[in-house]
């Protein structure tokens, strides 16, 4: 019998009521009396020296309040980078200044050159057209390998070259890894590209800056996944506003997928301008602006090699990756190709030696940072593609080859610095095989062939490091932030509860799932509990939501705070029941004295806490409110086995996904309905990456895919049919180090699906006699067709 409340129940989402009736409160729905609007004049060239900006005509246009250029920001801090990577020689990465508005030089299409503040957006836009720019265009560097050649045009004149860092991991393993390759019975090599993507949450970014003279306080309303992080970065590093004078609010946010983690120039601008002008300033991104100003994702070029012994055991993995940073370092950019990528290169396998080299490169393109999965999709894609290729070269079954090399004992310390606490990779593989009906594949292939189509089967495994992250560990690795999470559990006098969390929901359903946990712990109805999030003024300092961390880290903080509540409530109950504290039990919202029929209800205890007439005031403070900060002792390691079948039309190269199965191990699950929804969303983004999406630049740094006309988003018809699509999470090895035993599910689908699809396409091509080893993403009909022509 499925549970109907508490942990494990598919409780329907309460937030849906406002979203379904049009009364959500997104940032663009916020308007402040008397606000002005800003229009950003953005560069349409990739690289240029700014000789002059003539705003004189624009300033006289109707409604113009003020025009800002780089000069106005000379004394203001640049946008900070939150992670410092140390290169293989022990040197810190190169960290160029990142101005709010371009200072003297433009380094990518979309960079802000001037900001026009006016009484209306139309007026601001009209005036921006009257600004005259005197630019001396420079050659652009776009290709990463060309960018690191001697003599290449430099993105930043004050740096020696375009190499941000050259990272080796684990450097001490390099010699042994090289030796393993010399001694290998077989080596499989693959060069591949992990295509540049744009996250594209459906809500474009918005920022509204406000200033109150009455208390000298600035407020920023922004589309952020982590308002406290924005307050810290913007307040301390950019504008010099102390936290107690700066409030950041991220209300309903329409999707994030990583791209709303970062601190952006537009946020700093609106806050700054509102202070200067003593007037609220609002910016709403258009979708076209989003394409050239939201941080992009992925964009790796990799060579991976896999060494095997004569028995097909993996003996070593070696990679060389070029990772695009774009023109500036976005907030967490340096960590993505390093600590979120290199540490996952062992995958699900007991390969004893791994060496990862990453060259991070500046180019004249939009900054690149974390996008759903962030580093882990790139790791999985390479590893699972090369394993698939090795299986083909060796003539062994790809499932068998993977199984033979699986890690089977836990905890398991990988050669790339992480320790998997728990997992069962055979179990998820078994589950996938069962749900996929593999014995029926040959018949399905024949049926496709009878229609003149090719059919391919793609198998894939993945592991990810989630529940980000132990602060002391990431501190050693260069993070300039802690990665704990916080929760305040405020029990009200009549027993209802408000939970203030530093975590943030932008679609994940915190308002429904978090109360399920507390309801389970206290035995009270979920609807007595409300979640408050997204406002630095009324939530404890927290790090927000990304890296599948909400329930694993934020949920754990909430559990710890609730445990403190229970402890105190038991003390109050023991006083009221005149029993010893150790005998008090809490069940179904009742405190009872063990072995007696004496009991008192939750609401009577909470009332006593706030009306403490009969109360042990000498020993116990009144009130019932507790805060906990939870810092995880390890990452969590969700893992799974995915498979899909594609049908490929050899006439056109068109690929359709006919069947898809994911078998995930997320540890314990709080709300299965929400978890499955997360996986569906991740898989759709992964299918998008594999078949459709590509952010592309020409050699002059022009962004060719700057709208939905030329950036292909997955739509309803590309997703497999309802009866051919199963997402399963029944294999559960609970996380061993957090109180809920949860691992997190937000990124799995986006990590597991791209190699699944590409493995299937290669299999289909091979079945048609095409000797194709690899096809780069997105596998568009044109690319597939070209591959078939040899």
């Amino acid at each position: 019998m499925p549970k109907d409340h508490g942990i494990g129940a598919s409780t329907k989402r309460r937030e849906d009521l406002r979203f379904l009736t049009g009364v959500g409160n997104y940032t663009d729905d916020i308007n402040i009396h008397g606000q002005a609007y800003v229009y950003f004049l953005r560069s349409d060239v990739a690289h240029a020296t700014i000789n002059g900006i003539d705003t004189s005509a624009a300033e006289t246009m109707p409604g113009v309040v003020r025009i800002f250029t780089g000069k106005d920001f000379e004394g203001v801090g640049g946008l900070p980078c939150g992670w410092q990577v140390t290169d293989k020689h022990g040197q810190p990465m190169k960290e160029p200044a990142h101005p709010v508005i371009a200072q003297g030089k433009i380094r990518h299409v979309g960079e802000i050159v001037a900001a026009v503040v006016a009484d209306s957006l139309d007026m601001a836009r009209d005036a921006a057209e009257a600004i005259v720019l005197d630019l001396a265009e420079l050659p652009a560097v776009v290709d990463m390998k060309a960018a690191v050649q001697p003599g290449a045009t430099k993105v930043h004149d004050d740096l020696d070259d375009n190499l941000c860092y050259d990272w080796g991991f684990v450097e001490e393993n390099k010699a042994a890894t090289d030796k393993a390759f010399e001694e290998a019975a077989h080596v499989t090599t693959l060069e591949l590209i992990n295509n540049r993507l744009v996250a594209n949450p459906m809500e474009p970014r918005v920022a509204v800056g406000d200033y109150s003279k009455a208390n000298d306080e600035s407020t920023l309303y922004t589309t952020s996944q982590n308002p406290h992080v924005i307050r810290l970065l913007m307040g301390a590093f950019v504008l010099g506003i102390p936290e107690h004078k700066l409030r950041v609010v991220a209300p309903d946010v329409g999707g994030g997928f990583g791209t709303k983690i970062f601190h952006y120039a537009e946020e700093a601008f609106c806050t700054f301008a509102a202070r200067q002008l003593r007037r609220a300033v609002k910016w709403t991104s258009s979708r076209s602006e989003a394409f050239m100003s939201d941080a992009h994702g992925r964009d790796h070029v990799t060579k991976i090699e896999l060494a095997l012994d004569a028995d097909n055991n993996f003996t070593a993995v070696r990679t060389e990756t070029y990772a695009n940073m774009g023109a500036y370092l976005s907030t967490f950019a340096p960590s993505v190709p390093t600590w979120l990528h290199g540490t996952l290169m062992a995958g699900n396998y007991k390969t004893p030696l791994v060496y990862v080299n990453v060259k991070a490169v500046f180019t004249n393109t939009v900054p690149v940072d974390a996008y759903r999965g962030a580093g882990r999709p790139e790791a999985t894609f390479q590893l699972e593609r090369v394993i698939d290729k090795a299986a083909r070269e060796l003539g062994v079954d790809p499932i068998k080859l993977r199984r033979q090399n699986f890690i089977t004992t836990f905890p398991y310390a990988t050669p790339v610095a992480v320790e998997y606490d728990t997992g069962d990779y055979h179990a998820t593989m078994d589950k996938m095989e069962e749900l996929m009906d593999l014995p029926g594949f040959e018949a399905r292939r024949k049926a496709s062939e009878a229609k003149g189509k090719l059919r391919g089967l793609g198998i894939n495994c993945f592991i990810e490091a989630c529940g980000i992250a132990p602060s002391n560990l990431v501190g050693q690795l260069g993070a300039r932030a802690g990665l704990y999470e916080s929760a305040t559990v405020r029990v009200n006098a009549t027993g209802s509860i408000s939970v203030m969390t530093g975590s943030h929901s932008h679609g994940q359903g915190h308002e429904t799932a978090f109360p399920q946990v507390i309801a389970e712990m206290l035995g009270i109805p979920e609807d007595m509990i409300d979640i408050v999030h997204g406002d630095t003024a009324n939530t404890p300092m927290g790090m927000g939501t990304y890296g599948s961390r909400s329930i694993a880290v934020g949920g754990s903080a909430m559990v710890r705070a609730t445990e403190k509540i229970i402890n105190k409530a038991k003390k109050i109950a023991s006083h009221l029941l005149e029993a010893s504290e150790g005998d008090i039990e809490l069940k179904d919202g009742q405190f009872t004295v063990a072995g007696t029929d004496k009991s008192i209800a939750w609401g009577d205890v909470t009332l006593a806490a706030y009306v403490p007439h009969n109360y042990p005031l000498e020993d116990l403070e009144p009130g019932l409110e507790e805060t906990a900060f939870y810092d995880p002792s390890n990452f969590t390691y969700p893992a799974g086995a995915y498979a899909c079948e594609v049908e490929l039309d050899p006439e056109t190269g068109h690929v359709s996904i006919e069947k898809f199965v994911s078998a995930d191990d997320f540890g314990n699950v709080i709300n299965p309905m929400i978890v499955e929804g997360q996986v569906h969303g991740g898989i759709a983004q992964g299918i998008g990456q594999a078949l459709l999406e590509n952010c592309s630049y020409d050699e002059n740094g022009q962004l060719l895919s700057a709208s939905y006309m030329d950036y292909a988003m997955p739509r309803a018809d590309i997703i497999p049919n309802l009866d051919s699509y199963i997402v399963d999470h029944s294999c559960q090895t609970p996380c061993t180090h957090n109180p809920l035993g949860v691992k997190g599910c937000g990124e799995a689908g986006a990590i597991g699906s791209p190699p699944t699809v590409i493995n299937a396409i290669v299999d289909a091509l091979q079945s048609g006699g095409h000797k194709v080893d690899h096809i780069d993403m997105p596998a568009t009909p044109g690319r597939v067709w070209a591959a078939m022509q040899g």
Partner: protein, 161 residues
């Protein structure tokens, strides 16, 4: 500036608009009906879908002045008269057809238009009809299920356990 008047969710409204004012901006900025969203500037995402004289229309592709005299329905007017969710809205909640909620008003308005013209669509017809609505969160699976369920057709219950 020209004066426009129209019926929105059954109420007569009027306002002064510029020739270039889009219907979606009139709804959001002048009428404060912020349930209708803007997700793109190329008329492709469908976050702005409303009904004009009973037809699904992308409110970002129509000038407010063009809707003068029209009957307009938006997400704010979709619930039952007692305030409870209508069949389509309820199915979206029951089948978890929304996450961040940003595409949702457009999805619900499109679904309503589809079911009006085709009360029992096949799965393929639902997917095809949603060509003009982008959702980045749900991966569409649960949206398709919600619409099938709202049309009274059988779909397996929401989560496996």
């Amino acid at each position: 500036m020209t004066k426009v008047s129209m019926t929105v969710n059954g109420k007569t409204v009027s306002g002064e608009v510029e020739g270039r004012t889009l219907l979606v901006n009139f709804l959001r900025d002048d009428l404060h009906l912020t349930g209708t969203h803007v997700g793109c500037d190329t008329s492709q995402c469908g976050a702005c879908v409303v009904h004009v004289n009973g037809e699904a229309v992308k409110a970002c592709t129509m000038f407010a002045a063009e809707a003068d005299g029209a009957e307009v329905a938006t997400i704010e007017g979709m619930a039952n008269s007692d305030g409870s969710l209508n069949t389509i809205q309820q199915a979206f909640q029951d089948y978890h057809g929304l996450q961040c909620g940003f595409c949702t008003p457009g999805m619900v308005m499109s679904a309503a238009a589809l079911l009006k013209e085709n009360p029992k669509p096949s799965e393929a017809e639902v997917r095809d009809y949603l060509e003009g609505n982008i959702c980045r969160c749900t991966g569409y699976h649960n949206i398709v299920r919600a619409i099938m369920a709202a049309s009274g057709q059988d779909v397996p219950a929401v989560a496996a356990e």
